[in-house]
């Protein structure tokens, strides 16, 4: 049955890209969620939208940018947005969550204006907003694999610092961990993760893949390591299940992946309740 799917190059691309995204989204998400920064993913995904819009505009207006995927511009905007969030959090030390709506609305506002200038309200834009498997070209796939690899490697090497900073920032500082530097690297990793994931799940849905598998894993794990791995396993299930279902039923892929994540979360909550009742 799956043979049919693999006959299409775009489906193979989408599956590979999906598997990469299914690892890095929850891997980054675990640290965001335990630091109570889940909404950061939303803020950065919306600023990515203005980057995409700028990319579309540039490719229409200038010859220099023709043929270059707007994804790169999305990535640049997302990283700049991430750095701005850090600055805003410093400016509003006692209202740190304020940085999120500020960046989020700026992203949407700027995005919509740029798209309207580019006269870009079309199918192409929709594929960025909601994700589209058909849209993952060869070049996109390589970018996703390359950036995904960098993100994963960074998490591998900074795992203990990220863990300590998430648990207790003051203690981490006293024990000699370079808080500022690690936080900066982390926020850039979040930005890169969002920018490369939007091809698969879309700007509006990427935060779901970052937070929902972690939310489910938190319900059933005792340790941080368990939370980390269970989140990844759940996200991979959601991506694979979502892509396959979307292919055969001709549904929107991003939405189907997100619904799968929601389904897994509800299932975990339900099973946990039954097990607890038995005890």
């Amino acid at each position: 049955m799956l043979d049919l799917m693999f006959q299409y190059e775009f489906m193979r691309n989408a599956l590979f890209a999906g598997l990469v995204v299914g690892i890095i989204c929850p891997a980054i998400g675990v640290f965001l969620v335990v630091r109570r920064l889940s909404l950061m993913a939303d803020a950065l995904s919306h600023i990515t939208l203005s980057g995409i819009a700028a990319g579309i505009l540039l490719s229409k207006k200038g010859t220099l940018f023709q043929g270059i995927s707007p994804m790169y511009m999305g990535m640049i905007f997302s990283v700049i947005g991430a750095l701005l969030v850090e600055q805003l959090r410093k400016a509003y030390r006692f209202y740190q969550e304020l940085a999120i709506p500020i960046i989020l609305s700026t992203g949407i506002g700027l995005g919509v204006v740029l798209i309207s200038i580019a006269k870009g309200f079309n199918v192409d834009l929709f594929s960025y907003l909601f994700g589209s498997v058909v849209a993952v070209g060869r070049n996109d796939l390589w970018t996703i694999i390359g950036v995904g690899f960098v993100v994963l490697l960074s998490i591998y090497f900074l795992y203990k610092e990220l863990f300590a900073l998430s648990f207790d920032e003051e203690y981490a500082r006293i024990s000699g961990i370079k808080r500022r530097m690690i936080n900066l690297v982390f926020i850039v990793l979040v930005a890169l993760t969002i920018a490369i994931s939007m091809r698969i799940v879309g700007i509006l849905l990427v935060s779901a893949l970052i937070t929902l598998p972690v939310a489910a894993a938190l319900q059933i794990s005792h340790s941080f390591k368990q939370t980390f791995w269970i989140s990844i396993i759940l996200a991979e299930f959601a991506v694979l299940g979502g892509l396959i279902t979307a292919f055969y039923l001709d549904w929107a892929s991003g939405g189907t992946i997100v619904l799968f994540s929601v389904f897994l979360l509800v299932l975990v909550l339900f099973v946990k309740k039954i097990v607890l009742k038995k005890d």
Binding site: F167, S223, F224
Partner: protein, 250 residues
């Protein structure tokens, strides 16, 4: 005796509000110091300055005879913060994972835990009597057990100095007794130098070998017996007439 912490003429103020006015304070090797003072006396600020989390407006701090600015050997210092507010109790981490954090600074960037580190972590957990709970979620432990896990985290890097900030707040009386026994054992058997900030004057004086009383500056620094002999005068000078102490609860 070798000085471990030296504070010379430390001044600090928040806006117009003077918190520390020329604090001179020395902790020597082998000391077990209880630092007391009323609310707002600058105890936490002094600790933060010693730990390099805040910069004094004036004065100098030395740790292990090295000026704070160039001090790098943070693994020589174990820190136990107030249990309350220090972490999110829904955090998914086991006792083992929490204690392992004590090694991260010493390990340095990009290095990962080896088997040898794991046995050092288990040893520290054993030292505080939590071996059976090593794989338990930290949020599911009692206040006293959590505090012992944090001591293990502070001990895992084999520090020479242990700094504790109101470690018994939110811990039940029975656990507080055990807690002091553990600190006493560490002080004697491992020759650990201890600096503990506390509200609990009565309990503390039975265990420490030096008492320091702070209110913007040091009002007393000496042995517990001297402190008890002059308690009324010292406390009146440090606390003023509005004395409101936490007394020994036995």
């Amino acid at each position: 005796m070798k000085p471990i912490i030296e504070c010379k003429n430390i001044h600090f103020h928040y806006n117009q509000n003077e918190v520390l006015k020329g604090v001179h304070f020395i902790v020597e090797k082998g000391d077990y110091v209880g630092l007391v003072g009323p609310n707002g006396s600058g105890k936490s600020t002094l600790l933060k300055i010693i730990l390099g989390l805040m910069e004094p407006k004036q004065g100098e701090v030395k740790l292990f005879e090295t000026p704070l600015g160039s001090f790098k050997e943070w693994h020589k210092i174990g820190y136990v913060s107030q249990k309350a507010n220090s972490f999110n109790s829904g955090f998914p981490a086991t006792v083992f994972e929490v204690v392992s954090m004590g090694l991260f600074g010493k390990l340095g960037l990009f290095k990962r835990l080896t088997r040898e580190h794991r046995s050092i972590i288990l040893e520290a957990i054993d030292q505080v009597g939590l071996s059976d709970l090593a794989e338990r979620n930290i949020g599911k432990l009692s206040g006293g057990q959590q505090q012992r896990a944090f001591i293990a985290r502070a001990l895992v890097s084999s520090p020479e100095l242990l700094i504790l900030d109101e470690p018994t707040v939110g811990v039940d009386t029975e656990s507080v007794d055990k807690f002091y026994q553990l600190l006493g054992k560490l002080h004697q058997e491992h020759n650990l130098t201890l600096l503990m900030v506390t509200h609990d004057i009565g309990m503390m004086t039975h265990h420490v070998n030096k008492v320091a009383c702070l209110n913007k500056k040091i009002h007393f620094h000496g042995s517990p017996s001297d402190f008890e002999a002059n308690q009324k005068a010292v406390l009146e000078s440090a606390y003023g007439s509005n004395m409101n102490l936490v007394e020994h609860r036995h």
